[in-house]
């Protein structure tokens, strides 16, 4: 329990009469990649927003470093080092790499008594930090609209790490990406783990989750189906639980010759 950095204990979330989450328990250990798996409508989004400080749990406790917390805004979660990278990435396509990297947290310097944005520092830092994560930036002054989806995803993750994320919550980071780009993002998650950052990796793609994950929590219709460490569960078992095994088996029998 002592190496748990962030935990949800028996958390439920209701929206009016709708039960979005019921008695979900999730414990994130320091420096692990914890995959949160679930099909559409399983409550993944609600869970992320609860973790990110957008929603407060209706019942149950949210603990960071063993202390119960109650975030009023995403900003407060960010202040204790819980950073969320949403699918929209919070990047502005018309702005340059450097300006995006430091958007809202621009470095400044004084020139003749006037506070100005230190653009060279921003460009150099952005380039260096991205290079550290294995991303080569062509030109930090280039608009990011020209970057590929994978590059943007990596930029958003690198930015969160640079600004002091201890816990990184990644919302479907590989959903819209091709094979090679997904691989790059997975490599980046691995790099983050090497630096001691804990990652919650939300996905519905077991093939992306299984190779990188240390433990897996499965969500189905608002309930947790349990947390499993990698050595206790196989990829197929995860897949079975996710899709509701028996259901999937029937489906697979119907579609003979197709393998998931």
């Amino acid at each position: 329990m002592d190496d748990t950095i962030l935990a949800l204990e028996n958390v439920s979330k209701y929206f009016g009469s709708v039960i979005a989450l019921q008695n979900v328990t999730l414990r994130l250990r320091k420096g692990e990649v914890h995959c949160l798996l679930g099909d559409n409508g399983a409550g993944k989004s609600t869970l992320i927003k609860t973790l990110a400080g957008v929603h407060k749990p209706s019942e149950g406790q949210y603990l960071v470093d063993g202390q119960p917390v109650s975030f009023n805004s995403p900003k407060e979660a960010l202040d204790v080092g819980v950073a969320t990278v949403y699918q929209d990435l919070a990047l502005v396509p018309l702005l340059s790499v450097a300006r995006n990297f430091f958007m809202g947290r621009e470095p400044t310097k004084k020139v003749f008594g006037i506070t100005v944005m230190d653009i060279n520092y921003a460009a150099e830092t952005a380039r260096a930090k991205l290079a550290e994560m294995g991303i080569m930036v062509r030109d930090p002054h280039h608009a990011i609209g020209t970057m590929s989806g994978g590059e943007k995803q990596c930029l958003a993750i690198a930015r969160a790490i640079h600004f002091g994320a201890r816990v990184l919550i990644l919302d479907e980071p590989t959903a819209a990406l091709g094979v090679k780009q997904s691989f790059n993002v997975l490599k980046l998650i691995h790099k983050a783990r090497e630096r001691g950052i804990s990652v919650i990796f939300i996905t519905h793609n077991v093939h992306h989750a299984y190779p990188i994950g240390d433990s897996f929590t499965l969500l189905n219709r608002g309930k947790s189906m349990g947390t499993f460490t990698k050595d206790t569960v196989s990829k197929d078992e995860v897949l079975d639980m996710m899709a509701g095994g028996a259901e999937m088996q029937t489906l697979m029998n119907q579609l003979e010759g197709i393998q998931v």
């Binding site: 995403p74 990047l91 502005v92 609209g145």
Partner: protein, 381 residues
Amino acid sequence: MNSSSAHADSNSPAQQNIVPQDERVRKESSLKRFLGRPEFASLAGAILVFIVFGFAAGDSGMFNLDGVINWMQVAAYLGLISIGACVLMIAGEFDLSIGSMIGFAGMMVAIPTVYFHWPFWLAVMFAFAGSMALGWLNGYLVVKTRLPSFIVTLAFMFILRGLTLALSIMFANRTIVSGVGDLAAQDWLGSWLFTGNLGSGLFHWMATQGWIATAANGQPLVGGIPKVIVWWLVLALGASFVLARTRFGNWIFAVGGDANAAKNVGVPVKRVKTSLFVFTAFCACLFAVLQVADVGSAAADRGLQKEFEAIIAAVIGGALLTGGYGSVIGACFGALIFGVVQIGITYTNLNSDWFRVFLGVMLLVAVLFNNYVRRRVTEAR
């Protein structure tokens, strides 16, 4: 991440420290980069306009010193408000009440000065405070209601124009209030900032040396640089500096590019937008004060359609209607094109009705060109 780094062997530490040159980066020529700048279209347009009028009206006196000051002054007035409109457009909003604000602010200067016998400087302060408060209200309504600024400021375009008429009838029983000129010229603030010319001593000296044209009595034809031109240049440089070099400038681009993304990384979106509505109102009021001080009167129909001219100048200057992209320097070149064409056309044999035709065509060409530039900048290649 590029494809070369994806292939890099992450197990060998020697290779990790080498930043490989991306083989997929083409060297872009600096010319091509320049073509992608937001100012390019307006700069090219301005050069084209100069060439056209250089041929059409080159010997008509349009490019003599007094001619130059003439169209520069027209450009400067429009330039003031196009700077405000441009910065606001970069932040993703419109202000259609600029023109009505000019009329209203002019009355806020003229009526207290002439009818309440306020000192000119006090009336100017009052007008600035009043206009900026109205600008704030515009901004507050837009960020609070999340209605398009187009609608909110369209409402204010009518409200302010109506108020200008109604209040000037109420207080002065007329729609043109004159007699401000002398009061402004005698006032310390008016004579310091708003009336007269800059460098009149220099221009007199140049006249005595025979370097510039003089009237029959030996006075120079051009007594100096009108204050409005100085204001225009100062405001343009100031706004460009803020946009390019400050945190606030970065926020303006971020807010216009994607307000939601900006909010998620902690940019105070509402504050940025509201303050830019205030700035636009400030520009409109500055226009009005300079005009009232120069012409000596305020009229309820002043500034009619100026909001559109300001937006056109900003668009010719490369600002995108969707926000997040644009240039104050570009908007100033847009305003310059206006001034040159509007005044230049009177130096030629052309009927000045063609001015509007030309403007419309110019706007259309500029928008098409800007769209092309945006696609180049934002789409993955």
